[in-house]
């Protein structure tokens, strides 16, 4: 399917201002189109952007084989199609919403592969978006960009560890033993990195 069919590009230039004066992003618009119109062109655009990231996430730390990584991509992308109606652009950034689904699906896949017998799915642990306060300002495109910018400037030892925790899904204790570091060192590096990045949100909140 051609990504230029269906919804035309020019729409992307208009619908970016929401009542609060903040710009939404292209991916939020895609999710809304999928939810309201089952728009396959929007879905294809979303696929082309996120599927390669989901695959990279699946392969981080060689957690999953290539076959399982493709399986995860399919699973996550289908979940996105099914659940788009539950996405509320005022409460979360599209990338956070997609990341959370990918994280949950990967956790469930790990558990399946390790023959965990559990009545729970990873998404049972995420609070329902419906009950969250709108905090668009916390997750605006701008803070996401700023966080990415700041990640490039983190000391290498901190980047390495938070990548293990977030992208490879390792616990602090597992990261400590893989890197042959004391648990306390791992914890303090994660805390330093995370505090710095969290601070980006505080800033964007104040500059409202």
């Amino acid at each position: 399917m051609d990504e230029k069919t269906g919804t035309s590009r020019d729409q992307g230039d208009v619908a970016k201002t929401i009542p609060t004066g903040r710009r939404t992003d292209e991916w939020s618009e895609c999710l809304v189109l999928i939810a309201n119109k089952q728009d396959r062109a929007a879905y294809t655009r979303l696929f082309r952007h996120f599927a390669p990231l989901i695959k990279a996430f699946a392969l981080s730390g060689s957690a999953l084989s290539a076959t399982h990584a493709d399986e995860l991509v399919q699973e996550v992308m289908l979940k996105i199609w099914q659940k788009a109606g539950g996405f509320n652009p005022e409460k979360a950034a599209a990338s956070t919403w997609v990341y959370t689904i990918a994280r949950n699906c990967r956790t469930d896949m790990f558990r399946r592969l390790n023959k965990f017998d559990t009545p729970l799915a990873a998404e049972d642990f995420s609070p329902d978006q419906e009950h969250e306060e709108p905090f668009m300002q916390l997750q605006s495109r701008r803070s996401a960009d700023r966080i990415r910018e700041m990640m490039k400037n983190l000391p290498a030892d901190q980047t390495q560890i938070i990548a293990k925790v977030y992208m490879e899904g390792k616990s602090h204790a597992e990261a400590a033993s893989e890197l042959d570091l004391p648990l306390g060192t791992v914890k303090s590096r994660v805390r330093l990195a995370v505090q710095k990045m969290q601070a980006q949100f505080e800033v964007s909140q104040e500059s409202r």
């Binding site: 089952q38 990231l53 392969l59 977030y166 949100f201």
Partner: protein, 229 residues
């Protein structure tokens, strides 16, 4: 982390998980039983919920900066072909009843009410019921302490997470009310005592059997060797 966060109609938890536990929770790297306990705290705590949202946004930013792995059009076509059978769900999130109600997650695990559970009597004051989560390492259980009752001094080879659900208790470091989250690391000895006027119900997640340290109680340790899972 002893901050108080006042939000209308919400229980104000005063004792919270440390940032590193919240980070592991947000990253999905905590074990199943532990993450269930943290999720139950979030049910009571607006402040930690917001922190977790921010920590998830940090994860999302990292996710977006990954080097993309090429995905072939064959996979896209396969997914597109399945869209019809996987119609979007008309989404109606379940409503959560009041803040002090049993966290939804816990209700699902218990598949019933507290009274339907099989409680093991450990002492006159203490009853325990293990709850199956499927976690192969961590034991997830409910503890019921009679009003004014004391849990014998104990330590643990691993960590212990506790979340107060009803009533409350105190130990040498503070007193804890519904929604409060307490984390004790290995070899931390403590002897919690329930408040005098109300029975206390809490959720505990431990990664090794509790060991009671007083000689009087040694004999009861086998009772506490709960089954993980």
């Amino acid at each position: 982390m002893n901050q108080e966060y006042r939000v209308e109609d919400k229980v104000m938890a005063k004792h919270h998980p440390e940032l590193d536990i919240l980070t592991e929770h947000a990253a999905g790297s905590l074990s199943l039983a532990q993450t269930a306990c943290v999720a139950a705290h979030l049910n009571y705590c607006h402040c930690c919920s917001q922190t977790v949202s921010r920590l998830q946004a940090v994860g999302a930013a990292m996710f977006e900066s990954l080097d993309p792995e090429p995905v072939g059009d064959a996979l896209l076509d396969r997914v597109l072909a399945r869209l019809d059978e996987e119609a979007p769900l008309s989404y109606q999130p379940a409503r959560r009843s009041g803040q002090d109600a049993t966290p939804a997650l816990l209700s699902r695990l218990m598949a019933g009410d507290f009274s339907d559970l099989v409680w093991k009597k450990v002492t006159d004051a203490l009853r325990i019921t293990p709850i199956r989560t499927g976690d192969p390492q961590f034991e997830f259980s409910l503890l019921h302490i009679k009003a004014g009752g004391e849990i014998p001094p104990h330590d643990h080879r691993g960590s212990e997470m506790t979340l107060v659900l009803q009533g409350g208790f105190s130990d040498d470091r503070g007193s804890y009310h519904p929604g409060d989250f307490i984390y004790r690391s290995a070899n931390d000895v403590h002897a919690p005592r329930a408040f005098a006027d109300e029975d206390c119900l809490c959720l505990a997640v431990i990664d090794a059997p509790l060991r009671f340290t007083g000689w009087k109680y040694r004999w009861m340790n086998p009772f506490l060797r709960l089954q993980a899972g």
